[in-house]
Symmetry: C2
Subunit: 312 residues, 2 copies
């Protein structure tokens, strides 16, 4: 019998319990705060933003599954158990959602939607002549699973696509690959629409500051769907206000929800979405978690198991 | 030597002259009003919204090329020459532009962007749980060249896609086909996001009235990127205001530009774009026109030559 300890604030747990039971009715699904005692026997944690210290108190936890692709909500807990595998969410629903969001946002920037939406607000019938997709250079910053499905979704439109990753990745049909800090500015200089999909690590935090952003060509725009810590928000705002950058779609922020009095809300060329680019879907996520619990039980490594040295 | 008589109000003709000359430097490109005399010898008209009666005065015109996919700007001229072939624009730029716009708009409705954009205006961090693409039924109303490229672009996202056309079309991989007036309500009843791509003809004018729109399921949304005459705007507005329909993206209107005092501007769940879904691109259009002039000179039928009986 598999035991799951589930943690998710603010949302109903029923939909998750049902999704897990549909895959395997024998699972014992314990919803926080009813996690019982550590002496009840081995269990797997399946959590989002658990209160710091909570996981450390359950010595029966054999592995921790994150409800999302990000794991910074776990790694920021100073008491996080050190010898327990941590597994990022990698279900198909998450990948599909990201491919949809990135494609939608890139199309919106190519087709001038931020400017057209602003014109609509002033009841102004204005024209916008879009650049052809083949003349639009998309740059994907972070080329893991989510970066790759996003690139794959964009390819049929004929965009000129490059991707940057911290470490070298295998060749990918139709995409120009860059890697390492030394090539980042070159990658930025050839990018009209930058798609941020980097994980949150000490190296990526504040990576896109005024200097880095200024390596983008004038008129470039930005889609950030990875982690809010990637971008120095004040630097981005001054480049958007000066008109050097033409627009941005931001789904993630250093602090969420974005404060009601934040100046970003008032910028005409910014589209703000409430961290919905890729939302984990209960049905596909339940399959993913139970499949990977089986792998761990067999002594194998799980899919998307955290590499603690890289931090993601 | 090929002679082209060009007509386009409000925009510079130079970009068009240059595009045509890049394909064939020997073309004589005459820009309105400098069309010369009908006695100057055979010529091809390449026009958008020419003043009524103008084409009739040039008996040397051997064929008329429309600068866009629509030809209602020609057929409404009571003096339009009867025995001259009329050719709709079918360049790749137009098709690519439509595939981009339709994909962007369908993704925006699936992902709840009209509601999220409204929340952004009130600085409100609100969540929206999107339906999965596979559970979202897209219905393409009009399955000609533009309908087909749009469907093709949507397929990789996994939408459940159907298409309706007036006359029967050959099978199309992955798309459920409906045709004829009798099946229209059945097609509408299974459609969550309706994409209007019908040409403007007496049969399509006002086709989507209150009764037809009410066959869509509650919560459906509409993207109209074909012709404004398709939809009875007052009927659509009352269904959007009542909340029966959840949103609309409208690129075309019965009268353009949309009047500044039109109530549509004020609707929160409507995205208005200024007839930019598919804009003819000079480079690809010039190739298309010159390729089809050669076909006509060889005595062949041109691509997308108008069938006057159907009216498009």
């Amino acid at each position: 019998m598999t035991r799951i300890l589930f943690y998710l604030e603010d949302y109903s747990h029923d939909i998750w319990r049902e999704a897990v039971r549909r895959v395997d009715p024998s699972v014992e699904f314990r919803s926080h705060p009813d996690w019982g005692s550590p002496d009840d026997g081995p269990a797997y944690a399946f959590v989002w933003e658990p209160e710091p210290g909570l996981l450390a108190r359950y010595s029966n936890i054999k592995a921790i599954f994150s409800l999302g692709a990000g794991v910074d909500h776990l790694t920021r807990d100073p008491d996080l158990p050190k010898d327990v595998p941590i597994i990022r969410m990698g279900d198909d629903g998450l990948k599909e959602g990201m491919a949809e969001f990135v494609t939608m946002s890139v199309l919106m920037h190519q087709r001038g939607m931020p400017a057209l939406l602003a014109k609509q607000r002033s009841k102004d019938w204005g024209r916008f002549f879009a650049r052809a997709a083949k003349d639009t250079r998309v740059g994907i910053l972070g080329f893991g699973a989510l970066g790759q499905v996003s690139a794959q979704a964009l390819l049929p439109f004929g965009y000129d696509i490059a991707a940057w990753s911290r470490t070298e990745k295998p060749e990918y049909q139709g995409i120009s690959l860059y890697h390492g800090a030394d090539s980042l500015n070159t990658f930025l200089a050839r990018t009209d629409i930058l798609v941020g999909l980097l994980p949150s690590t000490p190296e990526t935090s504040g990576l896109m500051n005024f200097d880095r952003l200024s390596h983008l060509p004038e008129g470039a725009s930005i889609v950030n769907a990875g982690r809010g810590s990637l971008i120095v928000l004040d630097d981005l705002m001054s480049l958007l206000t000066s008109g050097y950058l033409s627009g941005a779609t931001l789904d993630v922020f250093p602090e969420e929800p974005l404060a009601k009095d934040h100046a970003l809300w008032g910028l005409d060329n910014v589209i703000i979405t409430p961290h919905i680019a890729a939302i984990t879907r209960p049905d596909t996520a339940a399959e993913y978690v139970l499949r990977n619990i089986e792998k761990l039980e067999r002594g194998e490594t799980a899919e998307n198991q955290l590499d603690m040295k890289r931090g993601y």
